[in-house]
């Protein structure tokens, strides 16, 4: 499941959720399809909230070896 999660980015999940809401709002989907979309939407909502709650800021510092990439180092 976690593998499946990582395939779609957080941004895409939000976009999909929004699209589902719009689709259901349009009223152009039949009951069966609506329920499938609803279930997907609920799942996405839970995932999004949990992703945010679990997120931990990642901080890296530009490494020495990267520092050695010289562009046109005059020194």
């Amino acid at each position: 499941m976690s593998k499946k999660k990582s395939l779609i980015s957080f941004e895409d999940k939000l976009k999909r959720l929004e699209a589902i809401t719009e689709k259901l709002e349009s009223g152009e989907v039949d009951l069966e399809q609506s329920i499938v979309l609803f279930e997907e939407g609920v799942k996405l909502s839970k995932e999004c909230i949990s992703i945010l709650n679990k997120a931990e800021l990642k901080i890296t510092t530009l490494q020495k070896e990267l520092n050695n990439i010289s562009i046109n180092d005059e020194d």
Binding site: F10, T21, S34, F38, I49, L52, A55, L57, I59
Partner: protein
């Protein structure tokens, strides 16, 4: 004779004397003048002249010393230099070996700022059409800033609070002093070689105009302009405007605000998710209720409410049909029966005629055939029927 006393110097000897006298007389002097013919040699040394209305003096400022000058000098700028006078014997010239240089007044920096601003503006570096959009969901943000100080700490805590999904790449950079501009340019170019950076924040905490000067340098402005990654500047305080701010894709008044502009707010995102989730719940509830009431309508309809009624109605219909069918069948049967009896009579008659033809005769009394002797009454009239007719007796 004065000739006897006259001392004759070689060129080198007299130059040596001049050098000694001049250099010892002007060991530490300060001079104010306008820079002209400024040349930063690729070796790192600076060569220029200082002039006023009446005179010109040549100056040199060596690499390593000029590192401490926080601004890049340019022709026309009034500066105050300190240094010592040196004589260069091979050329017979003198010059000032400059140790320090500062603008003759804050007005000089302001003037330099305005000159560069006008130049870059006219070149179109500030044009809105060059501003790159800032992605709304950055995955990785590079921070070009000092690794120490409040600015970097503030930015980290803003990122942590607003959008901890993001990854920060801190690029420790000197943001003050004369080589700061070069280092900013170098690091910005370097970050542009990385593939996964969505936004660059160029930041520095508050300070004097001198402290912030690297961000007013032309090379920094051009590096920002050339960056393929969108750059947000957060330099100094709200009141501070630098050339970097004008050329960047987005200007923030402080480093913290720069990080706020670079990241979405997770509380807003959570609200967005919750709103969507309750909207779809409501929609699906409504939809289900609609279907429910539709089904209820059906259930409340006559057919579903009185199902036996229908059965009765149908059975009544059936009965009627049955009756009609029965009547029809009966009629048919009756008509067949009468046909049958007619046929059988005919058949019977047919048999009788045959017998009569052969010579048999029939006796009728009281219009009945007399088939037995006992039934014959002599006194009664009777009829004998032959094949060819009857005889009444």
């Amino acid at each position: 004779m004065s000739e006897v006393n006259e001392q004759i110097f070689s060129v080198s000897e007299i130059t040596k004397s001049i050098k000694f006298i001049l250099e010892s007389s002007f060991e530490k002097i300060s001079i104010e003048g306008e820079i002209s013919n400024f040349k930063a040699h690729s070796s790192g040394h600076w060569y220029f002249s200082l002039k006023d209305e009446g005179a010109v003096i040549n100056c040199t400022m060596w690499k390593g010393v000029n590192n401490f000058v926080f601004f890049t000098p340019e022709d026309g700028m009034k500066v105050i230099v300190t240094g010592r006078l040196t004589v260069y014997a091979p050329r017979g010239s003198y010059q000032i070996d400059v140790r320090t240089m500062k603008p003759a007044g804050v007005g000089e920096l302001q003037a330099a700022f305005e000159r560069l601003k006008k130049k870059l503006y006219e070149e179109g570096l500030f044009d809105e059409q060059h501003k790159k959009p800032i992605p709304y969901f950055p995955k990785k943000i590079a921070l070009i800033t000092s690794s120490e100080g409040a600015a970097v700490r503030d930015m980290i805590s803003v990122a942590e609070r607003r959008y901890p999904l993001v990854e920060l790449l801190i690029v420790p950079t000197k943001v003050q002093g004369s080589d700061a501009a070069k280092e900013i340019v170098k690091n910005l170019d370097k970050i542009n070689l990385l593939q996964d950076i969505d936004i660059v924040i160029l930041a520095r905490g508050g300070g004097s105009i001198e402290d912030l000067w690297p961000f007013n340098e032309e090379i920094v402005a051009r590096a920002i302009f050339n960056s393929k990654i969108p750059v947000i500047t957060g330099i100094g305080h709200e009141v501070d405007f630098t050339i970097a701010d004008f050329v960047s894709d987005l200007r923030a008044p402080t480093p913290s605000v720069a990080m706020e502009l670079a990241t979405p707010d997770q509380e807003e995102l959570k609200n967005f998710v919750t709103e969507n989730s309750s909207t779809i719940s409501e929609l699906i509830d409504n939809l289900i209720n609609e279907y429910k009431s539709e089904i209820e309508d059906y259930l409340n309809s006559y057919t579903f409410k009185y199902p036996l009624e229908n059965v009765r109605r149908f059975s009544q219909q059936l009965d009627t049909i049955n009756l009609r069918v029965n009547n029809l069948v009966e009629k048919k049967v009756l008509s067949y029966n009468s046909k049958l009896s007619l046929i059988s009579k005919t058949l019977e008659g047919y048999d009788l005629q045959k017998s009569l033809k052969k010579g048999f005769a029939l006796i009728k009394q009281n219009s009945k055939f007399v088939t037995r002797k006992n039934n014959f009454n002599k006194s009664e009239p009777h009829t004998i029927q032959f094949y060819d007719g009857e005889v009444k007796i």
